[in-house]
């Protein structure tokens, strides 16, 4: 049974995940992400945060339970239906996962090319965004020559270029200092205000407390959701533009 995607971005009911014949890394996980919400995903190492994100960005299917994404039942969705769903999801991977042989421009252009956009439009969009994230001088540079912060901005640009409905980040502050970490979180807030549903997995408990968004806590494969200090927005804003200002200001 499919669910109206207007009322629910993601919905998990008693979801379990195991790799092969191994033990369950996620057990009876239940939660719901409403459109325009912002959640933190916390928990000790090995608690299953990355596994949960892998389910969410459709790198795995659940072993059991009900999992709906954008209204689609993921356990039964045909393989051919997944690429279109993935295009609605932006992911900032923990190790960035930029393609090492491609320029910054081509890395950021990837989601648009995959979606079949015309090159002329791609050029315009990517250049605009690279200026916004302050990488306009590094468009033809390859990832190995970029600094950690530049790689991160390239990775964020790739995650948001196709205006995803759901943005996920796996330990985005893990490899950067606190100052940069806060600026990054500020950027996610900005994107969230534009209507993007955000889910951030992090170890940084002090930042989680400070920002006051609802927290999904994973421990031993089980999940507990605690509401945040800030109320979740009732009506999400439409993401018509990426907003003014620059990410460079937010992140560097």
């Amino acid at each position: 049974m499919d669910i109206d995607p207007a009322t629910s971005i993601a919905r998990f009911e008693n979801v379990g995940l195991r790799y092969g014949l191994g033990p369950e890394v996620l057990q009876d996980v239940s939660f719901e992400l409403k459109p325009g919400s912002y959640h933190f995903l916390v928990g000790p190492s090995g608690a299953g945060k990355s596994s949960l994100l892998k389910l969410m960005y459709l790198a795995h299917r659940p072993s059991r339970g009900l999992m709906h994404l954008f209204g689609h039942d993921i356990a039964t969705a045909p393989r051919a239906a997944l690429p279109a769903l993935r295009r609605s999801i932006g992911v900032v991977f923990q190790e960035y996962r930029l393609l090492q042989h491609l320029s910054t421009f081509d890395n950021v252009a990837l989601p648009l090319r995959v979606a079949g956009m015309r090159e002329a439009n791609i050029k315009r969009h990517v250049e605009e965004l690279l200026v916004w994230v302050g990488l306009q001088d590094h468009m033809s540079a390859r990832p190995p020559t970029l600094s950690g912060g530049q790689k991160q901005r390239a990775s964020i640009a790739r995650a948001v270029i196709a205006r995803p409905s759901l943005l996920m980040a796996d330990e985005p502050t893990g490899n950067v200092d606190d100052r940069m970490g806060y600026r990054l979180m500020h950027l996610f807030e900005e994107l969230n205000k534009l209507g993007t549903t955000v889910l951030v997995a992090t170890h940084n408990e002090s930042m989680v407390r400070e920002l006051g968004h609802p927290v999904m806590r994973l421990d031993g494969g089980h999940m507990h959701v605690t509401p945040g200090a800030k109320p979740a927005p009732d009506t999400p804003l439409r993401a018509d533009s990426l907003g003014r200002g620059t990410l460079r200001g937010a992140v560097t």
């Binding site: 960005y57 459709l58 790198a59 795995h60 299917r61 393989r79 051919a80 997944l82 690429p83 279109a84 769903l85 993935r86 295009r87 992911v91 996962r97 393609l99 042989h101 491609l102 081509d106 990837l110 989601p111 090319r113 995959v114 979606a115 790739r158 196709a162």
Partner: protein, 296 residues
């Protein structure tokens, strides 16, 4: 399918195997071109022999220096009469003495001066539709003309044609073998590419790429490498064939019919690089699609 893709998201042309693939394909296309030229050439040869020589016999009447010319001429005339009366004979023509000397001169030199008795020959053209029994004709002739011999070209010709047909089967088998080797090489190269670029492919997948988007990148690259290898291989093959043609021309042997390639033969050769590109591209595409189907 992308033909010559300008841009790929995967660094496929930097793989060590990809650098060797055009040369491997060049070698295979070279072999295939020679096998194919051999096949077409042999087929032409067999057909010409079949139609040109199968329906002929040569009757040989021995002479000796003691026999008077009139005796020999009468024997030839008797033989001619008997042969012409035989059912299935279309025509019987005596070969002139000068022609016989001319035919034998490469082997015996000026035979007349050496005083060697030359046999008289009669060319007999038979109707291929009528089953003429050579042994019956031989017996009939032997009664009046002692020592007469009939050369039935059909027997050794049949053997030659059989040999040519065997060679043709062998050439066709070789072509099939080369095709499967080429396909296998492309499958192996593609699978290695999939393994080497597994990380990049996963990122493409997670970005929302369809299987066909990834498969087309492999196919485009394989097509380009196959075509490139095909052109190189064909170039070497044509040079080899021209060289062989020159050598054969210098032999000037009247025994071998003209076996130079027909227009069809050249067209088939020219198609080889395209075929190599297509086989490589399609094989890569199918391999990638099959492998990716196992992913989520």
């Amino acid at each position: 399918m992308m033909l010559f893709s300008r841009r790929t998201d995967l660094p496929l042309d930097r793989d060590a195997l990809s650098r060797f693939l055009p040369w491997l394909i060049a070698f295979m296309v070279y072999m295939a071109a020679l096998a194919q030229a051999g096949l077409v050439g042999l087929d032409t040869l067999a057909r010409r022999w079949d139609t040109g020589m199968a329906a002929t016999l040569t009757v040989q009447i021995p002479t000796d220096l003691d026999s008077a010319d009139e005796v020999i001429t009468r024997r030839v005339q008797d033989a001619l009469n008997m042969i012409t009366d035989t059912a299935g004979v279309l025509r019987a023509t005596p070969v002139s003495e000068q022609k016989v000397q001319q035919l034998l001169s490469p082997w015996l030199g000026a035979v007349e001066a050496a005083g060697v008795p030359l046999p008289r020959l009669i060319d007999v053209e038979t109707d291929p539709a009528v089953d003429l029994d050579v042994r019956v004709l031989q017996q009939k002739l032997t009664v009046t003309i002692p020592g007469v011999q009939i050369d039935d070209h059909g027997v050794w010709l049949a053997r030659l044609i059989e040999m040519v047909r065997t060679l043709e089967t062998w050439a066709a088998g070789l072509l099939a073998l080369i095709l499967s080797a080429a396909t296998g090489t492309v499958i192996f190269t593609t699978r290695t590419g999939l393994t080497v670029h597994a990380e990049a492919i996963e990122v493409l997948h997670l970005t929302g790429a369809q299987d066909s988007y990834i498969a087309n990148q492999f196919a485009g690259r394989a097509w380009a490498m196959g075509f490139k290898g095909g052109v190189i291989g064909l170039l070497f093959a044509v040079l080899t064939l021209i060289a062989l043609g020159l050598v054969a021309g210098r032999l000037q042997t009247g025994m071998l019919p003209d076996v130079s390639l027909s227009v069809l033969g050249w067209v088939l050769l020219a198609v080889l690089p395209l075929a190599a590109g297509l086989v490589a591209g399609l094989t890569a595409r199918v391999t990638v699609m099959r492998t990716l189907r196992r992913m989520i």
